[in-house]
């Protein structure tokens, strides 16, 4: 039997996004911004605001975010792994969104450039799949903002040193 995986098209139930950015900043500095889970909206600028809270039902920390439309959403923080520099979080089902899992990895690619350099890879799967395009746009914008902010901060640190 022949399987053609190239023609699945838009009927796929789960959308998949992967965006990345190269930032000329040591990975620990970039990671510090991502690991500051509460202040996500400072660089994910499609959000109006974000803060952390304890979920009464589970006792686990959750992140509350308010989108550009004013809609408040809850995200379960799955993993904040400072060794791998990996953050994973899941947006709880709301409205059309039935499934979501996002992973942000900060990789050290200094060896490739000879100067302190990070690669941030931001992957998200979500349903319904068509929303992936809009989430992808917001993710791209967030990574561009993260790059601008952290490179400016690193430049200031270097001047200060």
């Amino acid at each position: 039997m022949e399987f053609n995986f190239g023609l699945l098209g838009v009927t796929e139930p789960v959308g998949s996004i992967r965006e990345h950015v190269i930032i000329e900043v040591p990975p620990d500095l970039v990671w510090s911004r991502i690991a500051d889970v509460e202040n996500n909206s400072s660089w994910f600028t499609s959000l109006q605001t974000s803060w952390c809270d304890l979920d009464n039902a589970t006792g686990r920390p959750v992140r509350m975010v308010v989108g550009g439309t004013g809609l408040a959403m809850t995200e379960d923080i799955i993993r904040v792994d400072s060794v791998q520099r990996r953050l994973q979080y899941r947006l709880r089902p709301i409205g059309f969104i039935t499934h979501h899992l996002a992973t942000i990895d900060v990789l050290d690619v200094t060896d490739l450039t000879g100067a302190p350099t990070s690669m941030v890879v931001y992957s998200t799967e979500l349903s319904p799949a068509p929303l992936a395009v809009a989430f992808g746009g917001a993710t791209r914008q967030a990574l561009d903002t993260l790059k601008t902010q952290t490179e400016a901060a690193w430049a200031s640190q270097k001047v200060g040193a």
Partner: protein, 511 residues
Amino acid sequence: MGRKILFITTDQQRYDAYGCNGGVVARTPNVNALAAEGISYRRAHPQSVVCMPSRATIVTGQHVATHGVWMNGVQLPKDAPSVAAVLRNHGYKTALIGKSHFDPFVDPFLAFPENKLARDGQHDALRGFDHLELAAHSGTGWLHYATWLRNNHGDGVGMFYPVLDGTLNVNGAGGGDTGAPQVHVNAMPREWYHTDWIAERTVVWLNSLPDDEDWFCWVSFPDPHHPWDPPATETHRVPWRDLDLPSGYIEDRSLREHTIDSKPSHWRKWYDGSLVANFEAPPKWVPATMTPNQVREVNALVHVENELIDEAIGRIMGTVRSRGWNADTDVIVSTDHGELQGDFGLLFKGPYHVDGLMRLPLIWRPAANAALQFEHSVTDPVGLVDLAPTFCAIAGVEAPTWMEGYELPTSDGLGEHHQVVTEWDSVLFGVEMHLRTLYRDGWQVTTYGAGTVHDGTEGELYNMADDPLQRINRWADPSVEALRDDLVCALREAVPETLDTRFARRVVALV
């Protein structure tokens, strides 16, 4: 005081929608009257067959490769060149009332200015328009019409057919009498429907202007784009059971499929439901399942919507006349792209560059006081890219160098109107398509760039005079090989062969 400009567009409308273009079903006396007093263009093509790129061409006067809105879901930058801004800078009051679609509609982060502006109840300047009152095909979302409907007739919101389904794909659910996709019985009173709302808001805006104001008003009706759900009170106008099948529909199944098979392979794959190449058609609907009666019902509802549009135009023209502006006003009527509407057993739109999607109504009724000399019928090819320079010419403004079209000709043989090109690029969920089309000297050629189902050698070539329904693909016909090569050469000189989407402006929403 200069010439005023009333620019009227519909959405997804075929050339033969109006009586003046040979339409025999919808009664369109108001557009017919404009045509009788003006110029009907017999070969007007869009530069893209989907909304956002085509509308970006209209407002910028640029080809798709230049303005960069290469598929639906790519935003036209806020600071993109705009003919409205040019006119405004020369003293015109400018308005856009109806469907703009320079920004995506699907906007979960409220990231786009049109949606933000409308959500906040503002009408302020954007993209050169002093005044915006925006509408789409439904009562949901942020736009002014949806807000008006929610606030004044909340029951109406749920009366429209849901364009998207629960998975945010284009809805394939059938309705009406035949179960045709995107057909729905809409219980809404006519006064709540977007066509009449747009006419009303246009009249209000026009009446807000002083008598001696120069103005440019783009009135943009969302119909007859699917969903096909005009107010049920109006559907008696065109009983679908009485309708002849459109000439582009091939009733004999084997002949239809043989014809489709003579075209590049994505035609048949979509027809059979094995490939969804674009977002604009329901992914769960299989064209091969469409019945002749479904074609009839869709067409009947389109005709009804076209009659409502014509009546709305009549109302707006009544205001123009009552203000004493008629002889000083140029009226241009067109659309952004066409609709397959049953041709080849297909509906909606996509990477299919044939007349259903490509041949558009375009009528220019010059202001009588301009005393322009013109022929009533122009057959030279023109494009929507020519509209912006035409608006500039009407206003007595030199067209900026960034505009790539040419003022519409007033008779055949004038200016640079020898050919017209159309581009398609899409990359969606792993399916990639690249088409380039040129019309010249009564022939139409389409080339395909390498993509998901094409290796870059496929093509289509039609003799539009002998084969007006584009049933005989002569791409591989040795007797016209030299002609084909000449046309392909001209096409490649006119537009880049394939957009390198790695460097293109980002798709930020699906539509």
